[in-house]
């Protein structure tokens, strides 16, 4: 296979190239270890190890591990992490050294923050581009809808990230659909990241440690979705002492406990949230016909880790969340995600770090109607997957970090299993499950060529096997853009391949440091996506199904180039960037008019495929420190599609196309106890289709669009101001320093009560129109929120 040759070649090439610099070096030794938080023992992701004499460094990986291989000598080594005190060690390096450090948080002071000359300049020096990180501390300070701190809603204020409106699930990145983001919670994919339709995300803010969004320049180790990767890492749990955090909000009550299993060797964290509107409502509905109705959602996040000796650490984590809507005891619907992840970190030696992840992920929903056994309907649908992912990092020297590994995922799609009865007759049936195996291998290197130039390059080869057991249909197109009819079918045995796809996905990023204040970056990546979210509604909904690539559905492909200029000001107090990107998309999934997407054996006959393109410019200016800080993000972008049979075969804007998107986010600390935060958001209205005419048919006024256009008009501009006030509890009491901390957050969402339209739709006038009377048709503006929404939450930590 030419893939193997390519990989072998790549490996030789890398080793030959990267090895060249070693020929002249004297004996080298390795400094390695873990960087942790002194207070709770949490490993720190992305902390810097800086070798002053060499002006070189390394960053800790997602497990807190770092390794630098440098020549014998005397060094000053600094361990730095934003918001933490730097530790400096002087070292006479004449053997391999293992140094674990624990960094302490900077004391919060009211004095102007002193910005040292060595403050973080990561956005300049790092080869990564099109990447955004948000600190949980920052997210927790932002004004939140109904006072519920929310990760997904917060990242929507970053450049290149948008949403079609309030209540919509998920997020859109650089003109990609909601289903084109890979959302990973401790390496396991989460298929639906929302609670209560799309109002809240499934991540418990108290349990999340680190959030990183990759919009472009995606390294070779990641794949599977075309638009973005949201990497969410949960806390490991305090391994020094018992701790609890929690809060009571307008929607959720939260509690997180964490404690060591064996001090400094292992710990656990257990976090839970539950909505309690139903409990509050109980007295009011007790004696009504709704007394058995319930609406609640909850999630539980659990994680434990344990170090078996110096070289091995095992992590076990799980997430379980569910939304339940029941009208009475029997009828209603529910959905939820379950993930379980087992990870094993192993150090082969102080330069070769490995992590093997095995996970299980399951998303399912079910609906039930009918109050007796004669007439009822129950419907289940789920997507399950099992995956193994070995990943290795080889810290060759200070100039090369080689990563390689692979992943194999087995998908089991269950589109619909129904049981039902109609007047006592059973009508149960199921659609065939669909199976797929996605396998990939990758090899990448991050190479520092010289002080100015760093490259990150790699290749990923992915393979998708759509396989039996099952029936595969061939379809015939009678008219482009209309329903295709099945003309023949063949059945396949278990594991028998129905269709095989393979894609070579090259990745490349380069950083050129113009001077110590600015750099240019360039990246290219190709991404392949083999599973598709089938959704043609305005916002994705919990009943949307996922389907694999099949003999009729080709994998989606995205090629993206991005160019960026990064500059810091005032000793890194301000960081600014401009990025330009262009994406070319193939095999975008679209739908025929009137597509029947739920419980349809011949779903593929209702799908269309087309091309897409997305391009734009993102400006980002952030003030990192000081009493007043925050950011401005502006995105100018287009997201378009061309599909045979839609919009007269011409390009049309996608539902999430927004030309302008501006966010202002600000935080101001008044004093030790009071702080303010506010954000303002404005974006171009999303495109939609308006009717132009109507005709009478069978006493109905049937509308149509005379130019057959899709998304030919825009709903009005969206803008909103939010504001919040945080009141910290007193730090001391009569007996001196308080052991526990607490704070109140008062939030005001949509401060000036704008009725931002979610959509404008057309309907005939409400009420019954007698046959023969004129039918009045009208346009209606629907706003999810029509007024200011105040809320309060109380949070504690002890």
């Amino acid at each position: 296979m030419n893939f193997r040759i390519t990989c072998t070649f790549m490996l030789y090439f890398m080793l030959a190239w990267s090895g060249a610099s070693e020929l002249v070096a004297q004996e080298n030794f390795t400094i390695s270890g873990y960087i942790k938080d002194a207070e709770n023992g949490e490993t720190l992701i992305g902390a810097t190890v800086y070798i002053k004499e060499l002006d070189k460094g390394a960053v800790s990986n997602p497990y807190g591990f770092y390794s630098v291989n440098i020549p014998q000598g005397n060094y000053t080594v600094e361990f730095r992490y934003i918001g933490y005190q730097t530790i400096t060690k002087n070292l006479e390096l004449n053997q391999n050294e293992k140094i674990d450090v624990e960094l302490a948080e900077e004391e919060e002071t009211l004095q102007e923050v002193v910005v040292s000359a060595e403050a973080e300049d990561e956005n300049i020096s790092n080869v990564e581009m099109s990447v955004n990180k948000l600190e949980m501390k920052t997210i927790q300070k932002m004004p939140a809808l109904l006072g519920e701190v929310d990760l997904i809603r917060s990242i929507q204020l970053l450049p290149g990230v948008s949403t079609v409106g309030e209540g919509a699930s998920g997020f859109n990145v650089r003109g990609g659909g909601v289903g084109e983001n890979l959302v990973l919670l401790d390496e396991a994919p989460v298929y639906n990241s929302s609670h209560l339709l799309g109002f809240f995300s499934v991540f418990n803010p108290d349990a999340v440690k680190d959030v990183k969004l990759y919009k472009g320049g995606i390294p070779a180790q990641f794949g599977g979705r075309t638009a973005s990767l949201l990497d969410v890492r949960m806390k490991e749990g305090n391994n020094k002492k018992f701790a609890a955090t929690g809060g009571i909000g307008t929607v959720f009550s939260r509690l997180t406990i964490e404690a060591p299993i064996v001090k400094n060797k292992g710990s656990f964290v257990l976090a839970g949230r539950r909505s309690y509107a139903d409990i509050l409502a109980k007295p009011f509905i007790q004696n009504t016909s709704f007394s058995d109705a319930s609406l609640y959602f909850y999630d539980v996040t659990a994680k434990a880790n344990y170090a078996f000796g110096e070289k091995d650490r095992v992590y076990l984590s799980g997430y379980f969340g569910r939304d339940v809507f029941l009208f009475d005891k029997e009828q209603g619907f529910s959905w939820g995600n379950t993930t379980a992840t087992l990870r094993w970190n192993h150090l082969f030696n102080d330069r070769l770090f490995s992590n093997v992840t095995a996970f299980f992920s399951d998303y399912d929903y079910e609906l039930a109607f009918g109050e007796d056994n004669d007439d009822f309907f129950r419907w289940n649908s789920r997507i399950k997957n099992y995956s193994v992912k070995p990943e290795l990092s080889y810290y060759l020297n200070t100039n090369n970090l080689i990563t390689f590994g692979g992943q194999a995922t087995l998908y089991d799609f269950e589109p619909a299993e129904t049981t039902g009865g109609s007047d006592g007759e059973q009508i149960g049936f199921r659609l065939d499950n669909k199976y797929g195996l996605e396998a990939s291998v990758y090899l990448g290197n991050e190479q520092t060529i010289n002080e100015k130039l760093t490259l990150q390059y790699g290749i990923r080869y992915s393979l998708f096997n759509y396989m039996g057991p099952g029936t595969a249909y061939e379809y015939e197109t009678e008219e482009v853009g209309k329903r295709k009819t099945p003309v023949s079918s063949s059945t396949y045995d278990r594991w028998e391949s129905i269709k095989l796809y393979g894609n070579l996905e090259p990745r490349f990023s380069a950083k050129y440091e113009i001077d110590e204040k600015s750099s240019m970056k360039l990246s290219y990546n190709r991404m392949a996506q083999y599973i598709h979210l089938i959704s043609n509604t305005t916002a994705s909904n919990p009943l949307d199904v996922w389907t694999p690539s099949t003999n009729n559905i080709k994998p989606q492909l995205a090629d993206q180039v991005a160019l960026g200029y990064f500059r810091n000001f005032k000793n890194n107090m301000y960081e600014a960037s401009v990025e330009l990107y262009y994406k070319d998309l193939q095999n975008q999934v679209d739908y025929i008019d009137g597509a029947d997407l739920l419980i349809n054996e011949f779903l593929e006959g209702d799908l269309l495929a087309g091309d897409g393109r997305a391009y734009g410019m993102e400006l980002f200016l952030k003030k990192n420190s000081g009493k007043f800080n925050g950011w401005i993000s502006y995105t100018l972008a287009r997201s378009e599609r061309q599909v045979e049979g839609i919009n007269n075969n011409e390009w049309y804007p996608t539902r999430f196309d927004q030309l302008h998107n501006l966010s202002l986010v600000g935080f101001y600390e008044i004093n030790e106890r009071w702080s303010l935060s506010s954000n303002f958001y404005v974006s171009t209205g999303t495109p939609t289709t308006f009717y132009s005419n109507r005709f009478e048919f069978q006493n109905y006024a049937v509308p149509y669009t005379s130019n057959k256009g899709r998304n030919n008009v825009r709903i009005p501009t969206y803008h909103r101001l939010d504001f919040s006030v945080t009141l910290n509890g007193k730090k001391t009491n009569k007996n001196g320093k308080r052991k526990n901390e607490d704070f109140w957050v008062f939030s005001f969402y949509n401060v000036y009560g704008r009725r931002n339209p979610f959509s404008i739709y057309f309907r005939q006038e409400d009420g019954r129109i007698p046959v023969g009377d004129p039918i009045v048709t009208q346009a209606v503006r629907f706003s999810v929120f029509g007024s200011i929404i105040p809320s309060v939450s109380y949070n504690f930590k002890f």
């Binding site: 289709t689 509308p703 048709t777």
Partner: protein, 304 residues
Amino acid sequence: MNRFLKFIGFLFLNSLFFSCEDVIDIDVESGPPILAIDAWLTNQPINQTIKLRYSTPYFDSSKAPVGTGATVTVSDENGKVYSFVDPDQDGDYVWESNGTDSIGILDMEYTLNVIFDGETYQAKSLVKRVPPIDSIFVEFREEDLGFPEGYYAQVFAKDPVGNGDSYWIRTYKNGEFLNKPVEINLSYDGGFSAGSNIDGITFITPIREGINPFDEDENGDFLAPYAIGDHIKVEVLSITNEAFDYMNEVKIQIDRPGGIGELFASPIFNVTSNIENINGNNEDKPLGFFAVSNISIAETTVVE
């Protein structure tokens, strides 16, 4: 589905999320008027009407201009021709039944032919089977899940064995056709759609109950569908799968979920006519649909 979404909205979400709707004025550029042919015939031995109208700008609710001076005929496979005439020039072309004759022999394919303004439009429709209505069942129900106490009706009919039967169920309350978009009641093999792969069953509950009028008071609370003394007439029309798709498309356009359900609204589009311009002028395609149905009818009056 939309009844379902409305119900959920009613139950929890609208109240929880301060959402609001208001009617707004917008400017939409309208296209030129296009001929619309409304030709839905049944095998009842009564007068059958085909209407020719022009389309109007969307927000124009005045009477649609009529298409007069056309030659309208329907013919069967044996060459029998039924002429539809419009002597009073109101755009309604009528075939007068003698009280016994009817159009709509089972399994016969009929062709509509309209010559109008120099163009010839044609469409075909096959007549499919329809099951008898077994009964209209009316019961008194206590208040439940937001539905008030009152009389609720269900129509019982059984889909014959064999895939691909589709139906349009039309209901009349006290002689008045229930014409709200949400009341369009369609069935495929007794269920909702072809994809559900069921066959030969009694119509499923939502279809059976789809004969209840869907009325709300000014507060948005549901009203009881029927009261004692109300007359209910139900028609089950056999339709082709093409006609099923057409009516389904019409329903998608005009039965909007509203409220929080708008989050999950499908994109709008132009419904697909089965009427072709056989002069080959693709620029001049009429709107509308031609269908010939067999019909089953049942009636009842709500008693205590």
